[in-house]
Assembly symmetry: C2
Homo-oligomer: 472 residues x 2
């Protein structure tokens, strides 16, 4: 029992690894350290919990602590690992009574995730939130609703004091959403459902920058249609207020608001590996090989704290998303159990809902990045119907595709529309991971039936147009 | 002007070819013969027209005769081509005054489609329909509704006498649907919308046989839930009646009905090539090469009358579907214009709606066919959520996958569920056309966001399970 598989972090990557290892090698001791109360919870569901689409925070956890322990995993919540000794192969952590204790490991997985980063002042004011903890989500919901009437404020696991503090406050009427990424767009929808007056601040010229112009423009328009005031090309300088947020101060304006939700970026939690042999990549996340191994012997990393190989560029990149974390964790659990399994690569697939709009992106969309990777990018954007034109529910679907002039290879794509647009991204993801050319994409035998797709699916129409341009 | 591109058949394949050729080579004379009135119409929309989801037959034509002529195409409706001389390179057709006339060709495309085949007696009775003509659809709708109130009975193009005949009849209360394929399932939905008492007769043990057991069982259950009486494993012997259909007589029963819709199969319209060098494949449809060329010089075939190469088996097969027809026609138009373009292959992708259920299939599902093609098929069926479990609208999605034991290659798949199930078939179609293994499918970076997909898409869950079985 002196050769345990030790996992630092009790969310997607960590628990996938722990579970898989225990299943494949039931005799192996598996210990999971989690610094907080919450384990195995769904970050991605939080905006919908705040919106009110999901009844309870507990609904968003896929495994309870008891279920994890039933799997034979030694789960230690509220245990913060503070350091790693990769020579002697142990981690140090603090006990509740302040003692520092060592735990040796046979294999170690660093799955410490990422934290919201806020590059300006005022985030410590009351009414200023990020959305990187379940407790924040509970506090925001308590703030927006009358907790007496809201069964969605769970007693268990929640930071009671925080929730009660916000429940006691007058509900806000105006909110600043700082950042127009996934979190910003999803939270705008959530706040709109509570009838707040919403100001969204975005440093760049469009929301959802990684989705490119076609999607970003469509989503920006939709946000405005739904009453969101967009402040584009406007950088937030600080949040202003005495105890509570009173205004957002930008490089151009001072906009009075009752509260603020800041989602401007996250940074990988790499503190515990600093000073060790574990090396970071250019992105600042941990560098790993095809099996999730770091530069330190028997130390793995996965999830939001680690880089992954990009399917198009072949180089390592930081793409912190849920499936990646689950898949890499699971693969490492299998590897540690003696049956090596690659963690796979990422195609940069991402989808997001913006009110009725479904948005997706995959691969390389940014021409500059494409050129850096040695491609000569050419792009086309087309709009076509999601179903046969005569069939009810047909919706305009915009597809943006990027291909390489020299080889014809499909490099990336983005889709936006109201009818099954997001899930069509999977077709592009599959084609990209298969290294298909745009011509091959055009020739795919995709599904056709009037209720689901026109004869030429929007993806095929876009491929046809881009292929024409590539062959000019 | 003695070198025209002559097309026989004015629907998907024929008009795609004519349009593409004219666009690429505007100086070329292009003549399209169509034996009927209707051109460029959507077979696949007819059940929804009968149901009442689509207002007008005209909505289902993608091009009017005028638009076709505006493209510079010489469109000759009501001209039936009766023979081809592949030595002298001309076709013969009958004029309205009964003269037989020759038209020489430089290139010829046979795009004569397929016709409903009915292997039993009684189909000539009133009240017995197939759904292979727009006029039938108009007659059925006139029969079901009060034409005075129904704007969906278009005056133009329709066989007035037939429509008036059915409009004058008492609307039916009971209908027999003979055949449980696409048409049968879609028409059951259409008749249910008009509150008919429906008896569906299927020779085999399940409906939608090409979709396999998982889909067929789910759809059969759904039909019964919606009040359809299923007569499975029951072969229709004939339709009984004096002038009008009075009953369906099977090998087991006599079921009184007011009318019957027969959709038991179609046969390719190959009559005009008999006695020529044009050769038929084993399926009875015209054999073509990768460019749609038949064995006769300068004679092409495309659409429901022609075979196509199957992406999985590599051999030729008859898969008469809309996208195939459009794509092959377009490619042949380009080839004829001097820029050779392969017609592509088929993956056997098909989707169908059965009330709320979305169904899809692709590739090889039948184990016997897979073994004939040299594979050792292994299959798994899993049911998983379409969205995150906590997100509203999450629906059970059943995915059936078939892989090859020896190589791990993905051979086929089928999907059924209520939430975006059909469009997920495109992911499998893309993977199959890319010759992916089941392990590669499992590692795909597919889209995840709570409103659209769980972390592990049902396709990935099925791939994971099948991969486990393949590696046993």
């Amino acid at each position: 029992m002196s050769n345990p598989f030790v996992v630092v972090g009790g969310d997607a990557a960590g628990l996938s690894a722990a579970s898989k290892c225990k299943r494949e090698d039931p005799g192996r001791e598996v210990i999971v350290f989690e610094r907080g109360q919450w384990v195995s919870y769904a970050h991605c569901g939080m905006p919908y919990y705040v919106k009110g689409d999901i009844d309870s925070l507990l609904d968003m956890t896929s495994l309870s602590p008891e279920e994890i322990e039933d799997r034979g995993i030694d789960l230690r919540r509220n245990h913060e690992v503070t350091g790693i000794d990769t020579d002697q192969q142990y981690v140090t952590y603090n006990t509740r009574v302040g003692k520092t204790v060592r735990q040796s490991y046979g294999d170690l997985l660093v799955a410490t995730g990422a934290s919201a980063s806020v590059p300006f002042e005022g985030q410590d004011l009351d009414g200023a939130f990020t959305l990187h903890h379940m407790d924040s989500a509970a506090a925001i919901r308590a703030y927006l609703t009358d907790p007496a009437d809201d069964p969605g404020i769970d007693a268990e696991f929640v930071d009671d004091a925080l929730v009660e503090q916000y429940a006691a406050m007058e509900p806000p009427e105006t909110v600043a959403v700082v950042g127009g990424g996934y979190v910003g767009v999803e939270m705008a929808e959530a706040f709109e459902a509570h009838d707040l007056d919403i100001h969204l601040f975005q440093r760049g010229e469009r929301v959802l920058k990684p989705f490119g112009e076609a999607v970003g423009t469509a989503v920006g328009d939709r946000l405005e249609e739904r009453g969101v005031t967009l402040h584009l090309d406007e950088e937030v300088d600080h949040l202003d207020g005495d105890d509570h947020v009173e205004a957002v101060v930008t490089d151009a304006h001072r906009v009075p608001v009752d509260c603020a939700l800041v989602g401007v970026g996250i940074t990988p939690n790499t503190d515990i590996v600093s000073g060790t042999e574990v090396r970071l990549g250019e992105s600042g996340a941990i560098l790993v090989d095809d099996y999730g191994r770091t530069d330190a012997e028997r130390v793995y990393a996965a999830g939001d704290v680690a880089e992954m190989r990009h399917a198009v560029t072949g180089t390592h990149d930081w793409v912190p998303l849920g499936l990646t974390a689950n898949r890499a964790g699971r693969a490492i659990g299998q590897t540690v159990a003696g049956d090596p399994e690659p963690v796979g690569d990422v195609a940069g697939t991402a989808v997001v809902k913006a009110f009725e709009l479904e948005c997706g992106r995959v691969g390389l969309l940014d021409h500059e990045k494409a050129r850096e990777a040695g491609f000569e990018p050419v792009a086309e954007t087309v709009t076509a119907g999601s179903r046969s034109g005569y069939y009810p529910g047909n919706e305009e679907t915009t597809v943006h595709l990027v291909g390489d002039r020299t080889t014809g290879q499909l490099l990336g794509g983005a889709i936006v529309g109201e009818d099954r647009a997001a899930i069509r991204t999977d077709t592009l993801a599959t084609a990209i991971e298969a290294n298909m050319t745009v011509a091959e994409l055009e020739r795919l035998d995709l599904a056709y039936a009037p209720p689901f797709s026109p004869v030429w699916d929007p993806v095929l129409v876009a491929a046809k147009v881009l292929r024409g341009t590539l062959e000019e």
